[in-house]
Symmetry: C2
Subunit: 104 residues, 2 copies
Amino acid sequence: MSDTDIFKVLADPTRRAVLERLADDELTATQLREGFAISQPAMSQHLAVLRGAGLISERREGRFAHYRVAPDGLAPLHAWIARYRAFWPSRIDNLKDLLKEMDQ
Amino acid sequence: MSDTDIFKVLADPTRRAVLERLADDELTATQLREGFAISQPAMSQHLAVLRGAGLISERREGRFAHYRVAPDGLAPLHAWIARYRAFWPSRIDNLKDLLKEMDQ
DNA sequence: CGCTCACATAAGCACAGACTTATGTGATTC
DNA sequence: GAATCACATAAGTCTGTGCTTATGTGAGCG
């Protein structure tokens, strides 16, 4: 999965919203569709794209498909950002502050 | 500049390569074009997109346009990633390791 | 076994985006 | 001041992508 592909996948607001909704729970395709003004095939296609990018994983149970986030999916994105740490000190400092805040 | 726009801008490999070439130096549009199999207007359009996204800044000097990275440009991307820290502990740990490594 | 449900796939459409060539603009050079 | 240089803008083309409706597939239910 190339950097270009990762960015393309995440450039779609529906797909990013799906990731956010999967943050807490594992959800089925129908459950994910609630609140979106989108057809069932459209959601199915988005889920296929997210799965192809390694950002979510699927667990089949009968006729239901349960989706959850794949923890290593965003690794390429992190790797890309990490390349900028050398010439981007101020932002890294902010990130450090963020992580420090997390520890509390 | 929305998250969607940031991701769209960075989804183009030429634009990401431009950012990498601007990591060290401030460069002109013509200098940036070296090594790319791309026309002059295409590069000009990419630079306009990057500038519109707040990822680079322009300094005009006579007929030359000097471009450099805008240090706060990737802030929205960081903010988006930060939203995942709550349910994404393993990756954050890796990021911590990265930052620790940086300090040396 | 026929129907419905959950989801995937197919096919077609419409818009967005990256590219091209052509041209415009303003600064420099002779 | 005419030509050239660095770059921007215009306009058109072509491909990719996200959406739709229609249909396929396989599981559960009466």
